[in-house]
C-alpha cells in the first residue's frame, strides 16, 4: 500500500490549525451558540 497523498492535509495542515484555533479561542468548547440550519439540527441531539 502506498502512503496516501491526502494524508498531508490531515497530518500536516489540520492539526496545526486546530491547535491554533483552540488556543486562540476561535474554536469554542461548551456554551456554544451554534447557529445551524435544518440539516445540521437534524443531526444533533
Amino acid at each position: 500500500m502506498r502512503y496516501p497523498l491526502w494524508a498531508f492535509l490531515f497530518l500536516f495542515m489540520l492539526p496545526p490549525f486546530a491547535v491554533h484555533a483552540l488556543l486562540t479561542g476561535k474554536a469554542e468548547v461548551a456554551s456554544v451558540r451554534a447557529n445551524q440550519g435544518v440539516i445540521v439540527s437534524a443531526m444533533l441531539p
Binding site: F12, A21, G37
Partner: protein, 608 residues
Amino acid sequence: MSLSSSSVTEGTQPSAAGGHQYWSVDSAPARLTRSLPLWSAPLVLVIFSVMSVILLFAINRVPVLAQAFPNRDFVFSPYIGTHSVPLRIFIVSFYVAFSTMFGSTLRGKIRFFLELLLYYVLVVGALDAINIVGYRLAGFVYSLHVIEILSGLIGFFVFSAKLLDHGSMPARADAPFNRRYKLASLVRLTIAVALSIAIAVGVDRMDLPLVLDLRNVALLGGTGPGVFLFLPTLFFVLYVDGTLQAILRRRSAFAPPVTVIVPAHNEAHVIARTIGAIDAAAAVYDGKVEVIVLNNASSDETIAVASAALSDARHLTGRVIDVPTPGKALALNRGIAETATEFVIRIDADTQVQPETIARAMRHFSRADVGVVGGMPIAPGDGPFDRARTLEVLLKHGYYQVAYGAFDGTIGVPGMFAGYRTALVRDVGGFVQGMNGEDTDVSLRIGELGNRVVSDPSVVYVSEVPKTYKHLREQRMRWFRSVYHVSARNRTYLDSWDLSVRGKVVLPFMLLNSARRAMTVPLAIFGALHLLLAFDPTGTLTGQAVLAVLLGAPALMGAFAALANGRVGALIGLPEYVGFRLLRSYLTLESVLSIAAAPSAARESRDR
C-alpha cells in the same frame, strides 16, 4: 519520447525583442502540454463568474437552500460566527469552470469534474464530520472563519492532487533515497511549527485591534485567523534559523578544479558576454576552470561566437561540443559525460556570473555533505519587468529558500547557476529530458539521496529577465508546470512510507500553493462579485479587505524580504511588484490550463 514530434516547435518560433529566438523544444514538452489559445483563460474566468453568480444567488435567495444553509455556504456542521467569503461555493465554481476547458472530450471533462467534486466533498465532509462529532462529545466547535479557510486549503490541494492524477505527466521514476538528515529535518520543522504557533497565539492574546481587523479578512491563504499569523511566523522562524546556521557554518578555503557546462540554443547574441564573465570569475578563483559550451541545435552563429570567445579567454580552458538533437537536458547530460572534475557548475547561456560567484559557491563544497549549491539570480535592471523581478527574487531566493534550507527542505536550485558534485548527478540518473523543471528534479533527488542542498543568497549572478509579455508567458508557463512534472516523476517521495520531509511536506505544500496561485485571479473576481451583488445581507466582506489580501499582503512580504537582504533600493519596485504578482497568478492559471489530459489507459498503467 520522440522530441522531433513536438508540433508546437515547428513553424511557430516567436522571437523576443532582441531578435533572438527563445522558443525551444523544452518550452512545451510534447505529449505533456497542449498549445493554449490566448482566449482559454479568459473564457474560464467568464464561466467561473457565471457559475459563481448562480450559486451565490441560489444559496442566498432560494428559500429552501437559504433555510438549509443559514451560514450561506455549503457547511454541514455547527459553527459560530460569520464568514467573509463562502469559499466552498468559490471552489466548486472554479472546479466547474476549469473542467470545461480541461482535456478534449466531453466524457473526460465530466469525469474530471466529478472526481474533483467527489474528493472535495469527501474531504470537507470529513472535516464537517469531525466538527459534528467534536460538538456532540465535547461541545467543541470551530468558528466559520476557520472552517472556511480549511475548506479553501482543501480545495486547493484536491485540485492539484487530481490534476496530478488526470493530467498528462512524466512517468514515475526510481527515486533514490537515503535516510541521512531526514529525522533531524522533521524534528527541526516540528520545533519551528510549535514555536510559530506559540508566537501566533501569544500575539493573538494581546487582542491588538490590528489583529482583530485582519482576522475579519478571512480570504484564503492570504490573511485570516491562523494563516495571517501562523504561516508568515513559521517562515520567519525558519528564516532566522537558516540564517543563523549559515553564519555558524564552518567555511574553509576551497578551490578545486571545476568544469563549467553551458548549454546554448541560439545564443550567439549573448554567449561571448557569458564566457567573458566566467573568465573574469576564473581570474579570482584559485582552482582550474574548464568551460564546455554545449551547442544545442542552434540555427545561428553560436558555435563560431563561443569558440572565438573561448580562445580569447585568459584564465580558463574551453571547448565547444555540438549536440545536434534538440533538448536542454540532452546537452547537459553530454556535458556531465564530458566532465572529468569532481565538481561541475551549470550556467545558462544568458546568465552572467559576477567575479566572486564561482569562488563563493565552491567554498560550500569544503563540507563533504554538500551536494548542490545555488545562489541568487538578480535582474539586469533595464527591462520592463526587472524591478518587479528583483523583489520576486529577494523574496524567493533571499528569504523562502533560506527558510527551506533551515530544515533541509530545499527542493529546487535554479539551473541558471548551480554547482554539483559530479558523481551525484550521475548517481541520480542525470538530467531528465522531455519535461519542465529538470533543474529542480536533479537537486531534489540529490537532496533525497542524503546530501545537503545549499541556497546561498550571497552567491549573486545576473540572469536575463524576459523583455516582452510573450516571452514572460512562455517562461512562466514552463516554470509553473514544473512543480507538477517534478512531483509526478518523483511521486515515490510523496507516496512511499520513507520519511521524506521534502516529499511529505514541502512538495505537497508547493502543489497546494500552485493551486492557490492559479485561483487568485478568480478569487479576486469572486470577492468583487460577492461585494457588488450583495446577495448576503450578513456579509462582512469589505472592498478594503479584498485589496488588502490581493495587494497589501504581497507588498508587505516583498518589502520585508528587501529589507532582510539589505536592499532598501529595491523597495522602489513595490508598486510594480504588486501588479506583477497578479500577472503571475494569471499566468499560473494559464500554465495549469496548458497541461494536457492523460488518456485513461496511460493513467491506469501509471497508477499500478
